[in-house]
């Protein structure tokens, strides 16, 4: 990427996408030629419920500007209830970050079903715009933590 300071800040966002729903939506979004920002680097996981808050923290501490976890809509989880359990964990994580003033808004959880490619693209737009607004993740450059 160019180091040109005048260039608009382009965040790097780690995406944890569920294999069954969100990743399917991502595929359809692509094949429908929906245009959406490039900032999310997706890791395809089997279930949103397998995303450990530690993975989220690790991404933020390593310098990701945001993290998006996306999975099946509530009730649609291929593994019955993984997304419900994830919802609680991410709630705890975001509460901790919020309490400590650590920009909990950098962590996103979204439900995107397999037939929701427009929502997938919209979510990409939404999360990218929101993280852009937040600016670079200060943890990314903090060497002393």
């Amino acid at each position: 990427m160019s180091d040109n300071d005048n260039k608009e800040f382009e965040p790097t966002i780690i995406g944890y996408f569920c294999n069954w729903c969100t990743y399917a939506a991502a595929d359809v979004a692509g094949s429908s030629r929906l245009q959406y920002p490039h900032n999310v680097r997706a890791i395809r996981v089997m279930c949103s419920g397998s995303v450990d808050p530690l993975y989220v923290l690790r991404a933020l501490f390593s310098g990701a500007d945001g993290v998006l976890i996306a999975g099946c809509r509530p009730g649609d989880c291929h593994y019955i209830s993984g997304n419900y359990k994830e919802r609680r964990r991410i709630l705890v994580l975001k509460t901790i970050l919020e309490t400590l003033g650590m920009e909990s808004d950098r962590v996103w959880l979204r439900w995107v079903g397999a037939s929701e490619s427009p929502k997938f693209a919209a979510t990409m737009n939404e999360v990218t715009a929101a993280i852009k607004k937040l600016g670079p993740n200060p943890i990314g450059n903090a060497w002393a933590i």
């Binding site: 069954w20 399917a24 245009q35 490039h38 089997m46 419920g49 390593s62 099946c72 009730g75 929701e116």
Partner: protein, 1018 residues
């Protein structure tokens, strides 16, 4: 027929690839049969792919149909994207043509439509579509949007290549000129081929009622009159409005929506009920309410047929959500030409006429038999018999068998159905069809697995090849491929990187493994297109799939970034680097299995238990029937005949004899289950006696080792507490009436009143008894038969004469049975006066009079529901959950209706929900098939991505055990640590997160791999 005498073919043909066809094919394939699955359309899924969510829980869940065991060689992605199974050969755009031979040895000629696009060459780039000048209405969106003449049938690219609509194609040749892989041929020949199969399953489904035959509703003339499927598209994100409900005329969100029920059903031409429309209307209404709470939604209906498991509760939820219900059949629809609103006349409280205006109107259109049935019925075809309505004729005791031996039917082909019942019928049909086909031999390693013999040594250092696909120029025109090559080569562990114009072409694929060997590479990154597509490619490389990583450069990077090549190249670099990093830490898969005990336990004594037992033993497995009752037969012993006039005692006797004479079937009477330990494949069951004196010979004192368990316990008729039951001997239940009819001691009965929904559909028991309306119809008809002058009045709330039973409802009316609807707020009043019963019911058909019908019947018959026995203890023993109504919970309401959440346990009959006899038999056959199916392989194989425990780290807290939805984690009490039953593990990884230490891990996607990928991404 005995197993040895039966002829067996090499495969099974499944005609029709909707939900039922997929289910039947998967069930057969899992039993080791080769399956041909043909469909007229270019893609599978039938009506399901048009809809996103289904009643009664508003959830998706097609993927839950997919096999639980040995899942690695099969689709492991959304079924909308396609079906992959090593034993299933898909024949898209292919129709049944003709057949010769007989059961066990059919030769079927199937006819494939001319394929203008060669699926082997089509890479799905879509160039053809973009240059095609023809636009026609898109049937995927029910004509609410346009498509080209060369197009994708559904938006889910991975499953299907482009197809040509010959009716629309002008053969201008633009697509041919532009196709980069020369995949298009505008004058292809259709082809036909002969396939040799032992049996055939018809899952051809039904057609949607053509609204031209109901022109009074204005569909097709008035833009804002939609069919229910059209509404599905309007509510779908993959639909023409991206899920925003915009009415067609002015593209505004309608503020009022009305549903008209029974369009194209329950009339003289279609004397049946379409089964699913009440529920799908409720579901659509609920979706609208959820998305647009301010929108007024009203349903105009005649009877709300909420007869299924959980349906009545759903209906109540809908009412609570503010959806309005008005009972009337709207005669016609007018349009306000000023604004496109629809005006209908509806009934007020007192049958007065009310003009109503709605912004949008939805027709709950019925299901009609497919014209294809006529072809199948043709003596030159399969010669199957059709019933009076034009559906495949089946028998009450042979619910999935057609009149032609070796030909079976499931789904709506034998009468309208919903998803649940289609799934049940499909498994039952698969079980039957299975007996006419040989099993494909299961290889030693547990299944056709790719590259299993050529795995690399564990712990050998990672040496990775990176292969970049240009996809013609689809990828390379956006992404700087040379830059990507350089970046890839610089990554740790990468031994070589190169690009190919088309990685998916035969020659490119064939060269991969030799080149890898040449470079000493033992892992490969394929940077090409969607992983679902590339799966096919991966399968043709002779390599353990665990050592292949796919980067989706096309759909994920190039296509969404057509205007931003620099960013796309950046992203591509990151994704490749992540994949390389993941592979660097990846070890070859170790597939594990658990041995299977090939015998089954059936719990229960009724019809369902007996049928399930026979179904399993038909596969040659040992069966143990365990019941608390002293003899088999259950409630069916009291039934002489059914609405279709079947001879129940003869069937029961035959069943009883078959079970008794089979040395592989062991009956344990007067016992119950004390404990169940173990898991699918190896259940250890201990039985205890329920009888005080343990000297009886039949009493089991020993334990049983079984591989699967079928729950088929019965239910009991409710003892009502209302309407003087138990206080007056003229007040009896339907079962008691039936007993009297059977013994003929009904006496000189001249007047009979029946009250429906006694003790059901109320606060205490908010479910429909499902079979009580059928019982009432049957008994009313029998009374009328015996004495045509007898007065028979049925007081009902909603006649649940769903599906083909509608004809019986009509028959009863024609025979003079009077049907009087009562309002649950004003229940019938019953008094005993001077030796007479006096029944007073408000006559709702004459509302203005506010009068009552007063009867002094000789008998008052109460239609009470079946109530499940208290199964709390058994549920706890089995580790299963009960529904709020006390029935056993299935793994998934729609797609896995006979499976339990705990693998290896299946439910049927009244343990699942109240069901009619044919329905119970079907479900028992399905449960039996499923139970036998998991035993078929003799062992259960794990997938490649499974969880594991580092024993030294495990503190034994068992949070993972509690959290695992598959009971794949168990406590090893002797070691104090948790262990994984790999074959049950589905690899979801929830356990890994629940474990605060590093004890739980996911083999194939470890913490370390993920964190390394994160670093690689940044």
């Amino acid at each position: 027929m005995s197993e040895t005498k039966r002829k067996k073919g090499k495969a099974v043909l499944v005609v029709g690839g909707g939900a039922a066809g997929i289910r039947a094919s998967l069930d057969l394939a899992e039993m080791g049969h080769k399956v041909y699955l043909c469909d007229r359309k270019p893609s599978l899924g039938g009506v399901l792919v048009h809809t996103d969510r289904w009643f009664p829980d508003n959830h998706c869940g097609m993927c839950k149909m997919l096999p639980i065991f040995s899942r690695d060689d099969k689709s492991q992605f959304c079924l909308r994207s396609g079906l992959v199974h090593p034993n299933i050969e898909l024949l898209p755009m292919t129709e049944f043509d003709s057949v010769t031979g007989e059961a066990g040895d059919f030769t079927v000629t199937v006819k494939s439509a001319p394929a203008g696009v060669n699926p082997e060459l089509c890479v799905g780039c879509g160039t053809c579509n973009s240059v095609c000048p023809v636009e026609v209405p898109d049937e995927f969106n029910e004509g609410l949007s346009q498509r080209k003449a060369i197009y994708l049938r559904t938006p889910w690219l991975p499953s299907n290549s482009y197809v040509i609509d010959w009716a629309a194609c002008t053969k201008c040749g633009e697509c041919v000129a532009h196709c980069p892989t020369k995949a298009i041929n505008l004058s292809p020949q259709g082809s036909s081929k002969k396939i040799s199969v032992g049996s055939i399953i018809l899952s051809t489904g039904i057609e949607q009622f053509n609204t031209e035959a109901a022109s009074q509703y204005g569909h097709g003339r008035y833009p804002n009159v939609l069919t229910s499927i059209e509404l599905e598209r309007l509510l779908s994100q993959s639909g023409p409005t991206e899920g925003v409900m915009l009415r067609p005329s002015d593209k505004k969100v309608p503020q009022s929506v009305a549903f008209l029920q029974c369009v194209g059903s329950r009339d003289m031409k279609r004397n049946y009920c379409s089964f699913a429309c009440c529920m799908y209307a409720l579901k659509e209404a609920m979706l609208i309410k959820k998305l647009y709470p301010q929108v007024e939604v009203e349903i105009f209906y005649m009877d709300m047929r909420v007869f299924g498991k959980g349906y009545h509760r759903y209906y109540e939820q809908a009412k609570a959500a503010g959806i309005k219900f008005t009972r009337c059949r709207v005669p016609l629809v007018k349009q306000d030409f000023q604004n496109g609103d629809l005006i209908i006349t509806t009934a007020g409280e007192d049958n007065s006429l009310k003009q109503r205006r709605f912004n949008m109107l939805v027709l709950s259109v019925g299901q009609v038999p497919s014209p294809l049935f006529q072809v199948l019925a043709d003596p030159g075809g399969l010669g199957i018999k059709l019933n009076q309505h034009g559906f495949c004729q089946t028998g009450e005791f042979t619910p999935v068998e057609t009149s032609t031996p070796g030909v079976f039917v499931c789904g709506s082909a034998s009468g309208p159905k919903n998803i649940t019942d289609s799934m049940i019928g499909a498994s039952a049909a698969a079980g039957k069809a299975s007996h006419y086909a040989i099993s494909v031999e299961w290889p030693e390693n547990g299944g056709p697995s790719n590259g299993a013999g050529t795995d690399f040594e564990i712990d050998a250092p990672a040496k990775t090849a990176v292969l970049l696909c240009d996809c013609g120029n689809q990828i390379s025109s956006i992404i700087d491929m040379e830059d990507l090559l350089d970046a890839s080569r610089a990554l740790p562990s990468v031994v070589y990187a190169e690009r190919a114009p088309y990685l998916c072409m035969e020659d490119a694929l064939a060269s991969i493994r030799p080149k890898m060997d040449h470079h000493g590479a033992n892992r490969v990154v394929l940077a090409s297109c969607a992983p679902f597509l590339t799966r096919r490619l991966g399968a043709s490389i002779d390599l353990d799939p665990s050592l292949i990583q796919v980067v989706n450069l096309r759909e994920e990077v190039a296509w969404p970034n057509q205007e931003n090549p620099v960013a796309a190249t950046d992203k591509a670099r990151a994704l490749i680097s992540m994949a390389v990093e993941r592979l660097r830490l990846q070890q070859p898969a170790v597939m594990l299995h658990i041995a299977m005990n090939q015998s089954a336990l059936v719990v229960g004594s009724g019809l369902a238990a007996m049928v399930a037992a026979r179904t399993i033993s038909d596969f040659g497995y040992e069966v143990h029937i365990v019941s608390r009752e002293p003899e088999l037969g259950g409630r069916a012993r009291n039934i002489r005949t059914t609405l279709s006039g079947s001879d129940v005692p003869a069937f029961l006797e035959d069943l009883r004899r078959t079970l008794a004479n089979n040395p592989d079937i062991h009956q344990y009477k007067g016992v119950e289950i004390a404990t169940v330990e173990g898991h699918a494949g190896n259940f250890h069951v201990i039985l205890t006696s329920t009888v005080a004196d343990p000297s009886g010979k039949d009493l089991a004192t020993s334990s049983l080792e079984v591989g699967s368990i079928v729950l088929a316990m019965g239910a009991d008729e409710l003892r009502p507490t209302e309407y003087l039951y138990g206080q007056n001997d003229k007040v009896i239940t339907q079962t008691e009436l039936e007993a009297r009819l059977n013994t003929g001691d009904l006496g000189d009965v001249k007047s009979v009143a029946m009250v429906q929904c006694v003790g059901s559909r109320d606060e205490d028991r908010p479910y429909c008894g499902r079979i009580c309306c059928a019982e009432a119809l049957l008994n009313a008809l029998r009374i009328k038969e015996a004495n045509p002058h007898a007065e028979v009045v049925i007081f009902y709330r909603d006649m649940m004469s769903y599906g083909l039973m509608e004809a019986d409802y009509k028959r009863a009316r024609e025979k003079g049975v009077l049907f009087v609807r009562y309002d649950p707020e004003r229940k019938p009043e019953v008094k005993a006066e001077g030796g007479k019963l006096r029944v007073t019911v408000r006559e709702t058909a004459l509302p203005r009079n506010d009068g009552n019908i007063v009867m002094e019947p000789d008998l008052l018959v109460l239609s009470v529901p079946l109530v499940p026995r208290d199964q709390t203890a058994l549920a706890a023993i089995l580790g299963l959950e009960l529904t709020e109504d006390g029935f056993f919970k299935e793994a998934e309401v729609k797609f896995r209706p006979v499976d339990c959440v705990r693998d290896g346990i299946f439910i049927c009959g009244l343990a699942h929900s109240p069901r009619g006899m044919a329905e119970s038999i079907t479900q028992a056959q399905a449960a039996g098939q499923r139970a036998a199916s998991i035993m078929a392989k003799g062992r259960l194989m794990s997938g490649r991505t499974v969880s594991e425990v580092k024993a030294r780290w495990c503190a034994g807290c068992q949070m993972c055990v509690d959290i695992c939805p598959y009971n794949a984690r168990v406590m090893d009490e002797s070691e104090g640590v948790v262990m994984v039953l790999e074959a049950l593990c589905q690899g979801c990884g929830t356990c890994v997160v629940s474990c605060p230490s590093g004890a739980a891990g996911l083999r194939g996607l470890s913490d370390k791999q993920i964190m390394s990928m994160v670093d690689a991404a940044l």
